[in-house]
């Protein structure tokens, strides 16, 4: 986790230095805070997340002729969250004490990092700017070593799209409300099963309701506030 934070910090500082070398008014940085709502098929519970985004406004804008003042850029986005698995989507485990057995649902808190590239297109409406984004990237799930008994990480591709509204507070500070869809691919819910290290109970097979149908391509939602910083102002 510390290595990860250091890496992200390095990217951020690198981006800051890069900004110094680029033209002003072409670059923006964002800090995201929000809530990630997972598809029920993932067996992950909703969780807050934090993230960073950086985008570079391209001098060439395909929308420029159609919409005056529109922008088009490419950027990077990364976010981190620590969701908890819903133990009731996995088998229950049994703890036997003489003639009494306790049944437990087993959850684990994972670390989820989603990172990728995205294209952002926006149009101005007064002091606000409506924008849409689409991109691709990867999601990495770092399992709880105490639950799965080893260091385990799963990284798979994902696609993203979404949009938001940005309001310029000052010439170089903005605030956005953003919604984004993260469409996972090659997702395996069973990989999140933390009951492996315990004795799964096979006696009361309906101790829990049937789990939600799983999917290899779950659709997750992110709702966030983005604090945007535009070096040099715009």
């Amino acid at each position: 986790m510390r290595r990860l934070i250091a890496l992200v910090g390095a990217v951020l500082l690198g981006a800051s230095s890069l900004e110094a070398q680029t033209q002003t008014k072409m670059f923006d940085l964002g800090v995201l805070f929000g809530q990630q709502v997972f598809d029920k098929a993932t067996a992950l519970e909703s969780t807050p997340f934090v993230g960073l985004s950086a985008s570079y406004e391209l001098p060439w804008n395909p929308l420029k002729l159609a919409i005056k003042g529109s922008t088009f850029g490419l950027g990077l986005a990364v976010d981190v969250s620590r969701p908890v698995t819903d133990g009731e989507q996995f088998p229950v485990v049994a703890f036997d004490f003489g003639d009494t057995t306790f049944l437990y649902a087993v959850a684990q808190r994972i670390t989820l990092i989603q990172a990728g590239m995205q294209a952002v297109a926006g149009i101005p409406i007064g002091k606000a700017r409506v924008y849409g984004l689409i991109g691709t990237g990867v999601y990495s799930m770092f399992m709880d070593p105490r639950s799965v008994g080893k260091n385990k990480k799963i990284t798979k591709p994902m696609a993203t799209f979404g949009g938001g509204v940005n309001y310029a507070i000052t010439s170089n500070i903005g605030l956005s409300a953003q919604a984004r869809v993260a469409k996972y691919t090659q997702f395996e819910r069973s990989a999140l099963d933390a009951t492996v290290g315990y004795i799964q109970d096979r006696r009361i097979r309906d101790a829990l309701p049937p789990p939600h149908p799983t999917s290899s391509t779950p659709t997750n939602l992110q709702f966030s506030l983005v604090f945007k910083y535009i070096p040099g102002g715009k």
């Binding site: 800051s16 940085l29 805070f33 009494t100 306790f102 009361i204």
Partner: protein
């Protein structure tokens, strides 16, 4: 560095510190599911007695031959269910349901005093081709005197849940208890076999206790029982779980077997039915689910849970489980410990004859559905008597004067319970018994 840069770096730093410092109090087995399971060791029942035929003999006579045999340990029948007496010829499959002499003996035992008891027997005789059973302690002596006896080979008992007796039986199974009495042209009585009968020996399925028990437990308000690889019940029979209290004889039917979760469909046709849960000889997997709230039972009021055989059909299920216990388990300590501490039943014996001594009047206590006494005592010179430890439940009290052999008075008592100093305590009851 400009202040706006510092603001950005501070915001990023705060966000990542927040994410990194999130604690993990809910990793692991942190959420308990349902009530604790109170497990039972469920296995072959040690106190079972399956239906058996004994004393079979055949008497040849010029006018007509006679077959006589005794049947015991037949499970009680529900309303509308009878056992049919059938003669079968295995060569042709033809059958007949001969009218038979049925001598019914219900045996019991009651004390004379604290040190001795007498066996009791109630006998009645009837003539019929079928009969029902109400009491587990019933033995039947059946006498078939019929000119058709030489035309058949086997005596077969069927349960009427299978339907009326057919004129011929095919290759399928039918009946639950049989013995051969004729081979070729010679009478030769053989031992009886409990299990499904068929014309071909290879198709018959003698019953034996076999099952792999997955679990048996009390789980909240539910009783759960799961078994695998259980032999099919004899034709006309099904499996049903019962809670039984050996102290009072109280028994409550929990329910029949069902297909596994999540199907939960009745497997009452496990004797002869077809389906994905059956093989030719067994039941692959089954379960019993009992809702104690719906049944209005408290598990601590019972001493064991059993999976027993019972005849199906009729308009109602049997009121007693009989003794065909296939599997059983003692109620676990974790459940039994919820019982109230035993109560006390005490009282006096009075005589309506002035000057008559009540000393040594035998007083005994018997569970309301039991056929044998539970506790026996005798009255003092002043007529007092007591039973110090009586588990909660319903009982009958009887009084037999000293030197007498006849019950002269009886009373029904129910030992309930109440909280005394936060301890569930059995009631103390005073009862007066009167003798002549």
């Amino acid at each position: 560095m400009r202040s706006s840069h510092l603001t950005l770096v501070a915001a990023v730093g705060a966000a990542f510190v927040l994410a990194a410092c999130q604690t993990d109090p809910i990793s692991g087995p942190s959420k308990i599911v349902g009530e604790p399971m109170l497990d039972m060791v469920f296995g072959p029942a040690g106190n079972s007695a399956f239906p058996v035929i004994s004393g079979q003999r055949i008497t040849a006579a010029t006018a007509r031959d006679t077959i006589e045999f005794s049947v015991s340990s037949l499970p009680p029948t529900g309303a509308g269910v009878t056992y049919q007496i059938v003669l079968v010829d295995t060569a042709t499959g033809t059958t007949t349901a001969p009218s038979s002499r049925i001598i019914r003996t219900v045996r019991g035992r009651r004390p004379v005093n604290r040190d001795s008891s007498v066996a009791t027997a109630r006998v009645d005789t009837s003539t019929a081709a079928q009969f029902s059973i109400a009491d587990t302690a019933t033995t039947l002596t059946i006498r078939i005197a019929n000119t058709a006896i030489p035309n058949f080979t086997h005596v077969l008992l069927r349960a009427s849940g299978e339907g009326s007796v057919p004129a011929t039986i095919g290759s399928g199974r039918t009946g639950f208890l049989q013995f051969r009495y004729r081979t070729g042209t010679t009478y030769a009585v053989q031992s009886s076999v409990f299990g499904s009968f068929a014309l071909a020996t290879a198709n018959r399925l003698p019953f034996s206790v076999s099952a792999f028990v997955v679990n048996a437990n009390f789980w909240g308000d539910q009783i759960r029982l799961s078994v695998r690889n259980m032999i099919r019940p004899p034709a006309g029979f099904r499996y049903a779980a019962w809670l039984v209290d050996e102290r009072t004889g109280t028994a409550t039917r929990v329910g029949g077997i069902l297909s596994p979760v999540p199907e939960n469909q009745p497997l009452d046709d496990a004797d002869l039915g077809t389906g994905k849960w059956y093989t030719s000889v067994g039941i692959i997997e089954a379960q019993v689910r009992g809702d104690m709230k719906a049944l209005n039972v408290k598990p601590q009021d019972y001493s064991f849970l059993t999976l027993a055989l019972e005849p199906y059909g009729g308009t109602a299920t049997p009121t007693r489980p009989g003794t065909s216990y296939v599997l059983s388990a003692t109620v676990p300590n974790s459940v039994a410990s919820r019982s109230a501490t035993p109560g006390k039943v005490f009282g006096s014996v009075t005589s309506s004859t002035p000057g008559r001594s009540v000393l040594n009047t035998t007083v005994y206590l018997q569970g309301i559905n039991m056929t044998v006494p539970g506790q026996v005592g005798s009255a003092s010179a002043t007529g007092t008597w007591q039973f110090r430890a009586v588990p909660t439940g319903m009982y009958k009290l009887y009084a037999i004067p000293f030197g007498d052999a006849v019950i002269r008075d009886s009373a029904t008592v129910t030992v309930g319970s109440r909280m005394v100093n936060n301890v569930l305590t059995g009631d103390s009851l005073f009862v007066t018994l009167r003798i002549p």
